[in-house]
Amino acid sequence: MSEVTTGGTMLQPSVRRMALPTNALTGLVLGVLGYWAGVQIGNGLGFNDSGNTGVLAGYALGSIMFLVGIGFASYPLGRLFGWVTPSQPAYDEQKGVWRYLSLSFDHKVIGIQYLIVMLMAMLFGGIGAMFVRTNLLSPDTPIFPPDKYLTLVSMHSVLMIFVASAAIVGPFGNFFVPLMIGTNRMAFPRLEALSLWLVPPALVVMLLTPVFGGFQTGWTGYTPLSEQGGQGFDSYIVGFTLIGIALVVSGVNMLTTVITLRAPGMTWTRMPIFVWGVFSASILGTFAAPVLAAALSMQALDRTMNTSFYVSSNGGSPYLWQNLFWIFGHPEVYIFILPAFGIVMELIPHFARKPLWGYRTAVVGLLGVTLLSWFVWQHHLFVSGIAPALRPFYMLSTEMISIPTGIVFLVAFGTLWRSRISMTVPMLFCLGFLYNFLIGGISGVFLSDVPSDITLHGSYFSMAHFHFTIVGGEIFAIVAAIYYWFPKMTGRMLNATAGKIHFWWMFISFNLAFTPLFAAGILDMPRRVSTYAPSLQGLNDWVTIWAYVLFASMLFFAGIVIWGWFFNSKLAVADPWHARSIEWELPTPLPRRNFTRIPTFTRPPYDYGEGDARPLIEPNAEPAPA
């Protein structure tokens, strides 16, 4: 409560508050109203555009009103009108289920909310994948109509891209980076909350696309095919714009936090490697996503105001979209994998009880990938008819990016050598990651050489490549992180035996499902088709069966998590893994204020085997007065 005194009179600020309670329910109601209003406004503008303006305006206004309903407008409006605005911790007064359905600025609550949203999106994306594989059981008789099939392919891919772009940085970056660098909060808690709450509208918008007929371009949205679609494609535009804004916002927040809020003694070379992974991904996110937003707005203009950015008959060029998209798209896939590298390089030292071998090399590797990822995007366009002189340069740059990527293996092997490995469930998933990413990375080398790319581009080989790197890489890392950090986030352990069953189930079915796809691609099967040569039916049926088994393993995992969350008893110790890392030295459940006094870090990370174990931070004196 601030009081302003002028002279002798005392002015009290107005005690009016926001009349509405702001939570997810309000957000939903306001979102629907906003959608309806947006459609009226958009259609009222009277463009000759088959209703696209209405849908775009509806989605945009609906998302904005959802955010208002959640409570983002309370603070700016409050300051504008001089109302009493509750302090940030006051947002966490609520207990129970409503706490997680409301706006919170506690990075720990945001982390858990993010995890739930990401898992739900992964569920929807996975269901889409099952539809896709089911259709491929028969080479010429479709089980779903071919146009609906393409919408299913597009929905699966876009939803999974949404998941992959934020599934590590969102839940685990937000939860653990402040803990690991010794601070109580992130630099911009409202931006952090915004990056979270932009995801549900993006998901809803994407799940609404069947209502408008769906879209048929896959996640790359190539023009002019995208402009042939109806209103379903507007979901793609708005959904990706929202996710792009979330990437920028989260990136700015993460970068500022790591650069400015490190505790004393937490130098750049003492940061856990996980923080480096998240940091480098955030650099990419902040600078790549705006390119996508710009390109998408040009698509929106083409669809509403009959501009011709991407229509070559009127002077535009489809190359423009391809290039802009991939300038974003290639750093985007490194946004997927860099935090996953961070997780794997973080977990292996703890379960091998040995310091990370080659820490500085690992950092150079992560930053090298970050830098090089800006210079390789044309490898998606090798056969598009780009100037022939460009191809050797991009071939070289793409091949070169495998050097810093290989450093991850170097560091992992150095850590494993002569260590004391405990084969816990997270460790199993990290080892699975190493194998999967090996296959994925080597197949990338096959694709990077132009002569071999002639056969492999746009075929199932490239699909197998990115599924090995993203699913076999990032998803395995996410699962490892969930098993590892679940005790810290919720105070309960996930069942270890069930976890081991889950690992073998997932690892074996994943490899059996996706390895034959390399062969399918080499044997003349293009991507995104519902019809293929009858000789490949045996292969495709084998893949489909194992894909079902893989999906079942993920459902089993969902069961393990839900069971653990609801039914396992709370742990008696705060550090079940006996890991030497700051987040495990803190109590569980974590207090609202992480550190009563900002600590001073005195030791390097992963100080296993270095004499008697001393705490990572200086012992605290009595807590400071509240």
């Binding site: 010429d140 008789t141 109509p145 769906g214 679609g229 019809t531 609801f566 030295e585 803190l586 605290n620």
Partner: protein, 242 residues
Amino acid sequence: MRAVTLPRNVTDSSTPRYGNRAAVLVLVVATLVVFLAVFITRFVETFPYTLTSEVASQPRVVLAGTGGTETVIHLETVGAISDAIDFPKPSDPHQDWVSYLPTTTFKVPANSVVTMVIDQEDSASGLRNPFWAKAQGIIGPFHMKYYDQNGNPQEGDFTQLDDASTPAHTFAIPDLGVFVPLLGISDAAPAGSINTITFSFRVGKAGTYHWQCFVPCGSGTIYGNGGPMQTLGYMGGFLVVQ
């Protein structure tokens, strides 16, 4: 064995309310299943019904002891579904779309001759690639009962359409090499006129082939290939040979 000075919170597990949590879980799963069922039935499973060809009462093609049969499929192409004459379809959600009626999935017997009789009622859009004005893959010429550019009724056998701007649609089965242009109703013809095009082609062993129109007739969409051209059931479908 570590000197940790921060207090440790040891919470003992209070009795969890399993009943509430289980109920929430069941509710969420049930909602998910319901949504999935609605999604599959309303959005995904929307095949046009299958039209089985009928044995020809008066065969066009002399089969000369080959033992095969000749079957007939009767179709109608319209400029807007609401204008349909032979096969009205008031339940279709896109009443203003061009369409083949009554359906776009056909079943024909293997190793037979298929005769298509198409009542073409749409006005001309013109071919993007004039190559398609020449009929290919059919047995003999195609027969047309049509209205010429002066509005006079004519009839005859043709192997191609001379003016590539006159077709309204084509019927093409690329995997069987069948490509037939369908003449559009000329502006001088009386309202409600129909051009009837009849042609025959052979099918071999069993399989599923797609057929499509090659005229960019999806009006208002980029390059004319959106809307009805990109939705199953209007301007493209399947020929199931069994």
